[in-house]
Symmetry: D2
Subunit: 352 residues, 4 copies
């Protein structure tokens, strides 16, 4: 595309697996993206059904139906998003890359560089381990340059986005003990996807709160890989996710032991993220709420050192479906294609 006038490009987009929440969220965001055109959205189960029949919020915005996955059609797209559970992308991506498409995978298939580690956590061999070295981990605040030239981007998980953005400055500056990080995070139920499971019925999870996956959540190795890269050494994280009785939002409360002398941590965070369009360090004393980023591609962060002791607390909030998934995917697309990074991503959070 290099020679074209970027302003006139319409990016042809394919979406694999469009019936889940990251799929409909991609459609919501791309409807507001003036240079994006979704030309195919696949679903075996809903093939032939109009997209706006399944998701009536899209009525009037798309004249599109779900179709069977068709590699030739997808390969003809400029960008293909995978909004699928894990274990789908790793089987289809090699062919699409070979055909020249760029791929942005919202699933977990390419997030870990180590195929053996991936297999241990996902309980099966990786289908295309040779691509793990080429795949770029799509956290723009860390990997912007690599994303710009990538053919395959692995979008970070929702928890990993909120945890990493919250801890990066402390680890990069070696201010805290990297071996005993603590991440107590909570997610809205949409993070569990649009699957028919008793555990996610309103009657099971409404008006209640619980931890889950304490003994080992699949986002743990991803978090430790990402933070290890930033720290320049291996890190240890105790990660406890919780389920919130609400739809959207992730809030991470992060604890680390300070190992250096006093520092202006507020100032560090403000300067570290000063040029980031989608990371917002709140003024000292203000704390993030998931509702203030609802629907927005934004991570709001606050830092505190309670009682002036030696434990720093970082709180970060994102919308798990936006900065934690589909919004970050569009951000990656913009970077890959040389478009303005914020294109189509300027929505104000829906409050109240």
């Amino acid at each position: 595309m290099a020679a074209q006038n970027l302003e006139s490009i319409m990016v042809r987009i394919g979406i694999v697996g469009g019936t889940g929440y990251t799929g409909v969220e991609l459609l919501r965001l791309l409807a507001a993206h003036e240079q994006a055109e979704v030309v195919a959205i696949t679903s075996r189960a809903e093939s032939g059904r109009r997209v706006d029949d399944l998701f009536p919020n899209l009525r009037g915005h798309y004249d599109l139906s779900f179709s069977e996955p068709d590699v030739a059609q997808l390969a003809a797209c400029d960008v293909v998003f995978f909004a699928t559970p894990h274990n789908v992308a790793m089987n289809l991506v090699p062919e699409l890359l070979a055909a020249g498409a760029r791929v942005i995978d919202l699933s977990a298939d390419y997030r870990l560089r180590d195929a053996a580690l991936w297999s241990r956590w996902y309980g099966e061999p990786h289908a295309s381990p040779e691509l793990l070295v080429d795949a770029v981990y799509g956290l723009p605040e860390v990997n912007r340059a690599a994303i710009a030239s990538a053919r395959l981007v692995a979008c970070p998980g929702c928890y990993p986005t909120s945890v990493q953005l919250g801890l990066i400055p402390l680890l990069a500056r070696k201010l805290v003990d990297p071996d005993h990080l603590i991440a107590s995070a909570a997610s809205g139920v949409s993070g569990a996807g649009r699957q028919a499971k008793v555990d996610n019925l309103l009657s099971e999870v409404s008006d209640s709160f619980k931890a889950y996956g304490v003994s080992g959540h699949r986002h743990l190795p991803e978090i430790e890989q990402g933070l290890g890269d930033v720290a320049g050494q291996s890190v240890g994280v105790t990660f406890v996710p919780h389920l919130l009785p609400m739809v959207r939002g992730i809030h991470a409360t992060l604890f680390a032991r300070l190992q250096a002398g006093p520092e202006d941590i507020q100032g560090l965070y403000e300067s570290w993220y000063a040029d980031e369009p989608f990371v917002d360090i709140l003024p000292a004393g203000q704390l993030p709420q998931t509702r203030t980023v609802r629907g927005a591609n934004r991570c709001q962060i606050a830092v505190s050192v309670p009682q002036g002791r030696d434990t720093v607390v970082v709180m970060s909030a994102i919308d798990n479906l936006v900065k934690g998934a589909s919004g970050q995917a569009v951000q990656n697309m913009n970077i890959m294609l040389g478009l303005p990074e914020t294109l189509g991503l300027q929505q104000v959070g829906l409050l109240p």
Copy 2:
């Protein structure tokens, strides 16, 4: 403005009473409106405080602080919105109109044409009854032409919007008994405003449902006035509002007795609203949900004649803060100023 190039206009906007939910919603919508510039937002209580300090979802979108109401400053605006409780606009509007501003009042002050009726329902004399005849009732689907030339628009209430849009075709076509209409409607708690009241605490209204105002809700005379205009005769409505354990959304379930022979009611509704950008008649068999219009300036409507009997049921859903308040206000602004009616109002509903 007639002589200007409309595409280059930046409309200078003032908002009176910006600390409530319709105020922050105006700001959210206007941030996406390419020809709108908010130059003043008033609040006596929060004067001097940054808008994005109170509403952190607006960080990065506005560099604006609340100010004391200043008639001169407001009068210099092209449009002034009143996002206030009733009893504020009726005292300030005469002066602003005299100074040449256009006014869009989201409160109840100018919705009823009859000052005596207004006084009976609001318990006090009207402060500027002489303006009641000039004020245009801002339901574009009924009054588009009058709005276009209005200086003062009274935005409909949230319930009245959903009830009127649902019943208009039946009454206009005289298909139903106008004396015994029934409106069983339900609203999210944001409709009660951002006031400190025990009754609207989460602990009081979450996980519960109730009717309220059965003996007489202030939206009743507004509904009967509006439907009477359409019917060409007085109408009688039994209106029961309910409070939903959620933030946004109004759903009206409307019942009317058919008095004419069989008719294709689905077809009637589809044709009646065919050209309306913000009224969406759902395909037969599909029913509206408040979530599919969340954050969108849209009314979704379904009709049914259960069991083929003689009672027709209409269901209509809106976001009370958008098509039921601030979105409709922006729609009115666009019409008043000759801008494209949909400008800034194309947001896709936030689902899930």
Copy 3:
């Protein structure tokens, strides 16, 4: 049991299908019932699993595991509750009755007296139509005497309980037009059961409201049968159920056209239900909320004639799992066994 001292009886209870919400609610209520002992609870899917492993709120209250349904074991119980979807009881009940057990069916299998009508609404033949005449419809406020001598009680549905209790006095006294009754009712999601369905995920139904089943809900013929009995003639109801974004509670808003002269409707309701332990007519001006009956075997009712016109509005609230299901089932058991009707059913609603 006739010869025994009633105070010393321990009623041996079997529950068929204990993994759903009415099953766990039966267990909750029976734990507080001093003369009840649950000796068997069946589930094919969870056979062998401890009840308190599936429902940890029961830890310390039951030392019981789910078992395969075993007719001999169930037949040895004094009472067998069916807390199953429809289409289970009608196949097992004949054998249990023949073996001498009393049966209280919480499902729909024996609610309609007319087998053909049942088949039309449930889409299959009835498996034991010969029992339909013997089955007693278990609404104690109507059928107390018949329940006392019944071997098979069909517990009313949740919506039918709230709608019938709300309309009975008006119809029995012939104060309203019986052909054009309107019931706009709303239920918490627990009414949809503990089945893995996308439609009932928190992410699908939280923070939203919708009507469903408008063209025909299976509770409609049950409502019309019950109200017809009371009215002494056929009645016509337009019944629109809605889904509330919460767990428990049904609220019915009922509209009827007055056809007689003025009447003290408040007084009528108060006297009609004066001796009913579980129907509570609220003082004039107070309206029911589902939260005030949460967890309680109680129906709270208010009546109003808005604006003094000719439409009466009745509002009734129950907990769908208690007075709408398991509590009413226990009430029926008490009546059948000659125990005090309120035994084990005196819980105070959980507010807030």
Copy 4:
């Protein structure tokens, strides 16, 4: 009371400040307590109003109205509960004790032994500091014997109950670093009380999640005092409370660094609390949910050492209004009066 037959005692109870959530919860619990009779409930604001008019869930359970506080009347009670904000009890209690009443204070007034510390956190002098040494901290699992002979019991805060019960075994056995404990806890909104505050409106806190009080919450010194007693040395806790979009429930996620060799922590917890009627250690692998203790006087706890590393995670769940307030208060009353500790407190949690 020593000489009386305990089974025949009716305890005469006064409640000061009965219009809040702990007040109505006391009434709910005491309605099921066969030896309790509430003879007075005070409220200046609601004096003269029937209790069941304010709280309709109590209709039929109490024939009682709010009254002005009257020291003589209260002093004639066997037990007086204070269900007030802080700063009320400390002014009235001296007089009541002098008159011979027993007092159970649900507020913060007597929780800290150090008057200076109290003043620092509550911003005013303590009005009866001489009673701080006599007041017994009402956590039965620690202080049962002292409670039995106490005249004044200070009920623990809701967060402190969940945090202390979760950490006591580890600290008592000196298994963890006491200087760097971390408590990430979350509460339903009822913990904020029944005050008219914008911050607790449903529209402000529903469908959202946030931390608050990070720089210093008043429960911190109480937690550190209680845990210090158990540890036999001062302890340091980083305490971050969060607000959940729901009514009832507290969940604490607690992190501590193991400083001793491997240990069967699950076994330790099971044996530590084996005789406690209201602390329930879940089987290994099961995690607590706030809904499984909703309405019940119970703390459910799980322990885990994720990845076999050196950080132990404890999760504890209570209903903030029951084991975190009114239930614990009744438990204390039973102990003080020599009644069975579980009397009136056997409710099964309301699930779903």
